[in-house]
Amino acid sequence: MVRIPVGEVTYTSPYIPAEWIEAHGLRARRMLPRLAANDGLDHLSGLCPYARAFLGECNRSAGPFIFVTACDQMRRLAEFAERPAFVFNMPSTCETTASLRLYVGELRRLSEFLIDLGGHSPSRDRLIEIMLDHDRIRRALREARGAMASPPYARALAGYFENGQAFVVPPSGGLKPVGVPLALIGSPVMASHLDLFDTVEKAGGAIVLDATASGERSLPGNLDRRDLTGHSDPLFALAGLYFEIPSAFRRPNAGLFRYLGAELKQRGVRGIVFRTCLWCDTWRAEAERIRHWPGLPMVELDVADEPAPGGSALTRLQSFLEMLQ
């Protein structure tokens, strides 16, 4: 049987390293999904809109998808996928070496899936080369953060996720975010909702920290080149970086609060936009804690099945910013 190489593998979780897929000779596409009307999923009542959007994208696409078990809906969505899908077992626990080993084991299992799709077994040198490329892009993105308005910065991050190694960091233009500095915390932002950043600007604010799973929080830390020397497997260094990405679903999730504590302070955040998808228990449960813990004013936005942010979001944000100003 002739194996037809499949060029692109799609996923949305930050815990799938693009480097690993690219080292197999395939294109890694970390997608921020779009909600589509008439997606044929109305019968799955109670499905979180982000999970729904991702499943809809999967069923409209021709290529293979990766579902990551970071939440209980994503964990089961592969059972509704109409094409080959890989279920990646992402540990929730994050303080044991056994969990890290499980994560590495899953990356190795993913490798077999990628090879079955037409990819090739990654060489050590090629993997290191790609890891260094990504590290360079991510460092450039972090540097650009303070010199770009938040809407183009959000789109630049989305562009990196979508294009991986091929992404070129846009020139910052030397423009600093203007407006009341705000942090965006909560469920990931869909591609169809990226206008949220413009809406915040229109209301007089600026997202200086996007701590959603589609924002900066989901970027792994900087690579320490010393981890790539000697004969050690670079996969361990790669896994170590991605495994450390803090999130609300990790147990315990103290790492998320350490991250937020440091970043909120460093960026002079004056208010929090806390945005959760309907049915996203993981984030919703943290709302009250985040409201009180850093001592910052907070506005909550809900994301339901609407294809784009509604007018009520603008009104709510305007009121919030009037309050802050």
Partner: protein, 255 residues
């Protein structure tokens, strides 16, 4: 002898009197639902008997169905709306394989086998977004009656997107759409599409044809078309779809 079917629905009480031999409808009528529903049902029954020139003694059996069926003391037996609608539709459209019933406060999707017996069903009785109540709320907001709403929708060039899953939020959304200058015609069409979408969600991916639409909402212009568009299949209605449940109850009472 006469068989009587009483459908004590959430918005109206419907009664059908059936001739036990010819299976012809002798009389049928409805009255708005109220607090004293048994009295309302009895008054309606007496009126229909009088109009048909029948004595009370001619009644062989009474079956009550609908939300308030257990409060109809005159009934010999109660049967659910699912079974009664299926029986009524089997009489009116024997070929039907799927029934969509949208009433004032709930909606149902019933799958029938080739012989017209209920195979499976789904109901929405908690969320008003798939019911006639939604249409009433919108008609009130647009300042038009239910029939006017249907006519309005028929004139729409494009249906507005109403995304909220809850009628209360949808009403807020409609206020926003009106404020943004969206034509009422588009809003009305958007509401019909939303209801159709919610109802069709109950079907999942399996909808067997022919599809028959019953319940009071089937009388509203444009709703049948909205369902048909959403299902991408033809949808039929039956004569006087409000009475289908009561008719089914009367047919069961004949047994």
């Amino acid at each position: 002898m006469i068989a009587v079917g009483i459908d004590a629905g959430s918005r109206a009480i419907k009664i059908v009197l059936l001739d036990g031999e010819s299976r012809e409808v002798v009389a049928a009528g409805q009255v708005d639902q109220g607090i004293e529903q048994e009295r309302l049902a009895m008054d309606l029954l007496e009126r229909l008997l009088a109009e048909a020139g029948l004595a009370r003694e001619s009644i062989k059996s009474v079956i009550a169905t609908g939300y308030g069926r257990n409060l109809i003391g005159v009934a010999d037996r109660t049967v659910t709306e699912i079974t009664c609608h299926a029986r009524g539709v089997r009489h009116q459209a024997p070929h039907a394989r799927t029934i969509i019933e949208i009433g004032g406060q709930d909606s149902k999707l019933i799958r029938l086998d080739a012989r017209g017996a209920v195979q499976d069903f789904a109901m929405n009785d908690r969320c008003a977004a798939g019911t006639g109540r939604f249409l009433e709320v919108v008609a009130g907001r647009l300042g038009d009656g239910l029939n006017g709403l249907g006519k309005l929708a028929a004139r729409a060039g494009e249906a507005a997107t109403i995304s909220s899953m809850c009628v209360v939020f949808a009403e807020t959304e409609i206020i926003g759409l009106l404020a943004a200058g969206t034509p009422p015609e588009s809003i009305a069409a958007g509401v019909q599409a939303t209801i159709a979408s919610r109802v069709c969600a109950m079907a999942g991916r399996r909808v067997d044809e022919p599809v028959v639409f019953t319940g009071g909402v089937a009388l509203i212009p444009g709703m049948r078309e909205a369902l048909s568009t959403r299902l991408a299949r033809p949808v039929e209605t039956v004569p006087d779809p409000r009475m289908t449940g009561a008719l089914g109850a009367a047919l069961i009472a004949m047994k």
